[in-house]
Symmetry: C2
Subunit: 192 residues, 2 copies
DNA sequence: GGGTCAACCAAGCAAGCGCTAGTGTAAATC
DNA sequence: GATTTACACTAGCGCTTGCTTGGTTGACCC
């Protein structure tokens, strides 16, 4: 048994699992479906993961870590104005969410399926990501760019962004950048 | 068999099913769990519903219908200014989401589990609800209360509202009315 | 060339799944 | 009083589920 290491093989299998989890949802994805997608037999799967739960945890861990990295990079690369930073975060979030970042979608929509143990471990990662958002929101509030309750505003913004996976069509005319612009314009009330 | 009527008995069973679907998710809820919650044996369940799918469809149908009724009533009862109507819709949405929680949450989060046939039938109901929103957004745009792309704005607002089920604590200090105020203030950029 | 090891497979178990068939029964209807 | 209706029961079928077991393969190592 190979459990709990992070071999390249396991990384690859995790990536493929994410795709299926997005397509079918965690509960509807059987170990046999996973195995077929991976090109192995269902039994072999348990050489890499202790159980099905652990696959989910692995996917979510990678997704959240990815989101964190991308968000941090976006913040480092943009101007240091409150508006630019707000926009950078929104764009990074959307890109992560929409340009085939399966793992991130799973992190958002299958969180409840984690057992308490895994949830506890992973919630720290998620908190780090949300802290990034709250910092940017704080700056925007301080710069008088937006107004209102810090907690509520960040929740509303995250909600608006996370909901995009339900309706956004990446093949359509709007780019993630467009969406980010429009969202920031909406809450800062400047002409788009 | 009693399928497809809407006896009071069936209404009550549907209500109980909604609770379990919220707690466990549709896939994790077995017919045996449903039956136990309803105080009958699993076989008896199929006297009221053709299959498990139909229970889900019944729950979602009731949830959406409820939301429609409440939203229409809220619009009828409020001032005819764009701002009042926007606020009334937001408050109605939140109240639906947070008080009569179960059915509406299922409608939001188990939609994908419907088979194509049921989805087709129910999408008309959902479209009617969304049309209400888009009308209110249109008025707000026309009144210069908010700016931007009609489609995007309504999606963002719905996202912010729907996301509340993930973090809102009805026992906390904030009322649905508070949330609605804050949200409208955020997108119209007036002091809360 | 024997030993090690990750990676895989074939076969299948025990449990649980949605659902069906056939029956019982009390109240309503004729 | 006979028939129908609504609602519940018991028993279990056929299938799928997550996971286990015991063994094989081939690459690499001293």
């Amino acid at each position: 048994m190979n459990v709990m290491n992070d071999s390249p093989r396991r990384k690859e299998l995790t990536r493929q699992a994410a795709q299926l989890f997005v397509q079918e949802g965690f509960d509807r994805t059987t170990v046999r479906m996973l195995a077929q997608e991976m090109g192995i037999k269902s039994g072999s799967l348990f050489h890499h993961f202790r159980d099905k739960q652990e696959i989910l945890a692995a996917v979510i861990e990678e997704g959240t870590q990815n989101a964190l990295i991308i968000a941090r990079a976006a913040l480092d690369d943009c101007d240091h104005t409150a508006e630019a930073r707000l926009q950078a975060m929104a764009r990074a979030h959307l890109e992560t969410l929409l340009t085939d970042r399966n793992a991130h979608v799973v992190a958002l929509y299958e969180w409840r399926r984690l057992d308490p143990e895994a949830r506890d471990h992973l919630s720290h990662l998620r908190d780090a990501y949300e802290a990034l958002w709250e910092a940017v929101i704080d700056e925007a509030l301080e710069a008088d760019l937006i107004h209102g309750d810090r907690f509520l505003v960040s929740r509303f913004v995250m909600g608006a962004l996370n909901w995009t996976v339900r309706w956004y069509d990446p093949a359509g005319p709007r780019s993630p950048d467009d969406l980010a612009h429009e969202l920031v314009a909406m809450i800062t009330q400047r002409p788009a």
